[in-house]
Amino acid sequence: MMEKIICACGHENPQGTKLCEKCGRPLTEEEKDRKIVDMRYDGIAIRSKTRNKSIIDKIWNFFSSVKVGVSLIIINLVAASIGTIFPQEFYVGVATEAERAIYYEETYGSLGKLYYQLGLSDVYSSWWFQILVGLLGISIIIASLDRGIPLHKSLKNQRVKRHESFMKRQRVVAAGPVTEGDSSKTLDLVEEQMKKLKYNVRREGNAILAERGRFARYGPYINHVGLIVFLLGVMLRLLPGFYVDESIWVREGETRTIPGMDGYFIKNEKFILEMHDNEKTEAQIQQGVNAVAKNYQTNVKLYKQPEDAIPGQTDNLELVKEYSIRVNHPLQHEGYSLYQMDFRLNELKAMNFSLTNKATGEELGDVSVDLTNPQNEYVINEQTKVSLLGYYPDFSGFKDGEPQTATSTPNNPAFIFKMTTPEQPDGEVSFVAIKQTIEPNGDNAYKMKFKGVETRNMSGLTVHKDRTIPILFIGGMIFMLGVAIGSYWNHRRIWVEQLQDGSIRLAAHANKNWFNIKKDLNTITEYAHLPQFIDQVEKEEEEGQKEKEGDNTL
């Protein structure tokens, strides 16, 4: 059986109780020796102090400890601040792991290398950081349960009449006969005035308990609930469907599937970059800045597949909306936001050539090769045409006599043309790249003379969805509410007992802001002609002060 502490009044208290739950008598030797009782948690037995036997109890007690909680907070703070020494990987614009390692070493030297190797460059998604936050969460929950529940019970079941030893050991006390008038009316006067001061008054026989602002005691627990809701919100980000953070490049004229946003497609109609056309300011010249951007904008069309469509089916897309995405003006749809993040200007879109007689310079006709849709044949007239035999968007050299392309992006386009003219009805083959022409079958009579290019721009967009924002917001609000309740309100209690001889015994306690309760006490003291109260803490301090002063004079 659990050990019980039996108070002189006969009440059985759980082990660890400092002040009897019923009458308030001090139960421990330590408590008995004190002049003023420990009113933290109202002297109840904190759950973790009651038993300490099984493993479960030991783990429970570990997390319920304030020391452990504070240590966890400090460890979390230190870990989180280490993550701010160098930029996190998320903000480093390189793709592969090898590039990242090089980036940290090159940018921040050997310290940066170490930082990367220790995994500090991605602290917030590291398992140990998450465990630390989780342990702090457990500590908050268990410490709250361990203290909050018994405190709630004790506040709910308060006795009106308390034992003399409890009353005398409160910080603010008063004792003595009423100073004026009929002592039989004193308690009525006290009750009346306390009610005017908005106290909850309970009276049992010759004892009164007046209480105000009890809810202030719940402030810390409310703010813990807020923290837990907040942590829960952060945790939910990991569940599918709650959090999306993707990026996508779309060229003008292209329609692309939106990653993370199933069934939706985006078409880039136009990318617009506008600059301020001001004269260079002094600061601009100093910093070597030529022009300052005014606007980054992508005009897009958002499309949706029909409900029953599957990936790849793009023939019946429905237009959802048209929008101009600008910085800070994302396209928003069903919780998703598409942000303007990046751009690339002037990617080749079409190349224009003229079929030209090398000797005479005569131009037989123009050919425009649309790089987004090259054709097999460009017919100029019945006897004159240009066939496209090969197209290499990012020409990187020959391999086994074959032109190669390094990527699918037209960074360095190359073509193999076959030019059929009335003069050369069998056709002449020519390999044409930028600043390079190869005529494999000897000297040609005609050439594809370069005339010019058309370009297009590319927009970098990010796709973002965060369903946890409302949860984080609610968590934050609850937290602030708890802080406000705990800081701006205080719990005041006044016990008054009239003894057989008509004299008064009074005790008062506030969890903070003693000034307020003394103001209230002054009012009732005057109104009900009570004996003057004293603050035992202040008195002690004053006495200590006097002794010191006395020492000095010696």
Binding site: M2, R51, S54, I56, D57, I59, W60, S125, W127, Q130, I131, G134, L135, G137, I138, I141, I142, L145, M235, L238, L239, P240, T255, R256, T257, P259, F265, I310, P311, G312, Q313, T314, L371, T372, N373, P374, Q375, N376, L388, L389, G390, Y391, P393, D394, Q404, T405, A406, T407, S408
Partner: protein
């Protein structure tokens, strides 16, 4: 039940739930990337792409149920893709009879490039262009070449990134071939 036992059980349950929450968080954050990526054993997501040569012919995965699907993602700039194609063509000629289908999905290149590439290599299997990169995104393909083997039950049998030689291709096709009746 006495009070003490009851309290121990309550505490135990609370601790277990809280610890489970941490374990779950750490686990799912560690495996987040993998969860989003298609995995072996998953049902292969259905898709539909238009054939390179016949705009009326649509390759819809669910239409091939009962057959093994050799789904290959490629691009003309990708050297290993080019190397493995003739072998794919050879093996397709053998395994086509046995119920294996090949679909070579090009990533958003132009029709001209794709046709001249395929014709230049002289390979024979169905080809389609994923113009919006929708199928590529659905199958989480990031590196080319990528090959997804889909068994006759419509489940992902194996995911291969990187070049395959002819022996490997043959054994892969063998592994997704439907059982003979």
């Amino acid at each position: 039940m006495d009070k003490k036992k009851k309290r121990s059980i309550t505490r135990g349950i609370i601790l277990v739930v809280l610890l489970a929450a941490i374990v779950y968080t750490v686990y799912s954050s560690a495996t987040k990337e993998e969860v989003e990526v298609l995995q072996v054993g998953d049902v292969a997501p259905d898709f539909e792409l238009v054939d390179l040569y016949d705009s009326n012919l649509k390759h819809r995965l669910s239409d091939y149920e009962g057959k093994g699907i050799f789904l290959n993602f490629w691009g003309t700039w990708c050297e290993p893709c080019k190397k493995e194609m003739p072998a794919m063509s050879n093996q397709y000629a053998i395994y086509k009879e046995q119920g294996v289908e090949v679909l070579a999905v090009n990533i958003a290149q132009t029709e001209f490039e794709v046709k001249s590439f395929i014709e230049g290599l002289g390979v024979h299997f169905p080809v389609a262009i994923d113009e919006t990169k929708d199928v590529m995104t659905t199958y989480n393909v990031t590196l080319l070449p990528a090959t997804i083997l889909i068994n006759p039950e419509g489940k992902v049998e194996k995911i291969i990134t990187g070049e395959m030689n002819e022996t490997q291709i043959a054994s892969y096709m063998e592994s997704i071939k439907p059982e003979q009746e």
